[in-house]
């Protein structure tokens, strides 16, 4: 069975900016906007209903910290958050990842389109540069 892409990124440490407790902060390879990030539990859960309360609350707390970083230090004016649960059960689209992930889309001056019309694939170099940029502003500890 094909390995989950998010589990692979965490195992190889590609795309992972940092961890906040049990939540991994990952730069989305398919980027809708600069600093588009995913917040994922370390464990492979496919539905929020599988997650213990403590773990999904950690995901939400991590989401809030990332949102604050984007708005207070990385220049975002507003933020959009989305979580798709079990969309692979009804969707034919191969783009959905079945590992739970909370999407964070910063808005810079205008409403970020989250339909995917303007998404682009980032190169490993672009991901690495974005990671460095974000880490400059992550408080230590």
């Amino acid at each position: 069975m094909k390995e989950c892409l998010i589990c692979k990124w965490m195992r190889e440490k590609e795309n992972v900016v940092c961890y906040i407790g049990n939540a991994a902060i990952i730069i989305s390879e398919l980027s809708y906007v600069k600093y588009h990030m995913l917040i994922c539990p370390k464990k492979h859960y496919e539905s929020i209903f599988e997650m213990p309360k403590k773990e999904y609350n950690e995901l939400f707390d991590a989401m809030r910290r990332v949102g604050e970083l984007l708005e207070n230090r990385l220049g975002a004016d507003a933020t959009r958050y989305a979580l798709n649960n079990n969309h692979l059960k009804v969707s034919k689209s191969k783009l959905h990842l079945n590992h739970i992930h909370l999407q964070v889309f910063p808005c810079f001056g205008e409403l970020t389109d989250i339909t995917g019309k303007y998404r682009k694939k980032l190169s490993p170099r672009e991901i690495e540069e974005m990671k460095k940029e974000i880490l400059k502003h992550v408080p230590k500890g």
Binding site: Y56, M63, E71, N84
Partner: protein
């Protein structure tokens, strides 16, 4: 929306959930803290901390009652600051947008459907959590 209760499917002392008057997908629900909070950032604010938990519980209820197969949670923060969306609600809220068996493509999240009073009543009667 809360005062006359016609849209309310759930309420406790700190949170409430309603069917909005305008939806993009039938059975779309909005979950709010009762206190007027404009940002999710206050990490120690219990009303923000528990908003997600309440949203998950309502989604669980919707899965059971509606046989909802999938859903999207959506939260937009500070969109009222942007020039294109100055009227966006300042009071933070989660959307729960359901998806059902047979819906091959995602709902059009920008679609606007005005519910009639009868439609609202039907939704509230079906989803009300005692």
């Amino acid at each position: 929306m809360l005062k006359d209760g016609k849209n309310t499917i759930y309420e406790n002392d700190r949170f409430f959930a309603v069917t909005p008057n305008v939806i993009s997908q039938k059975y779309q629900i909005m979950v709010f803290p009762k206190k007027h909070i404009e940002s999710v950032f206050d990490i120690n604010n219990k009303d923000v901390q528990e908003l997600f938990e309440v949203t998950v519980k309502i989604a669980k209820h919707m899965e059971k009652v509606l046989k909802m197969v999938a859903f999207r949670f959506k939260l937009n923060e500070k969109l009222f600051i942007l020039k294109s969306t100055p009227y966006h609600l300042k009071h933070i809220h989660f959307h729960i947008i359901p998806r059902f068996e047979g819906q091959d493509s995602e709902p059009d999240y920008d679609k606007r459907i005005w519910l009639t009073e009868n439609e609202k009543k039907e939704i509230v009667d079906k989803l009300r959590i005692a």
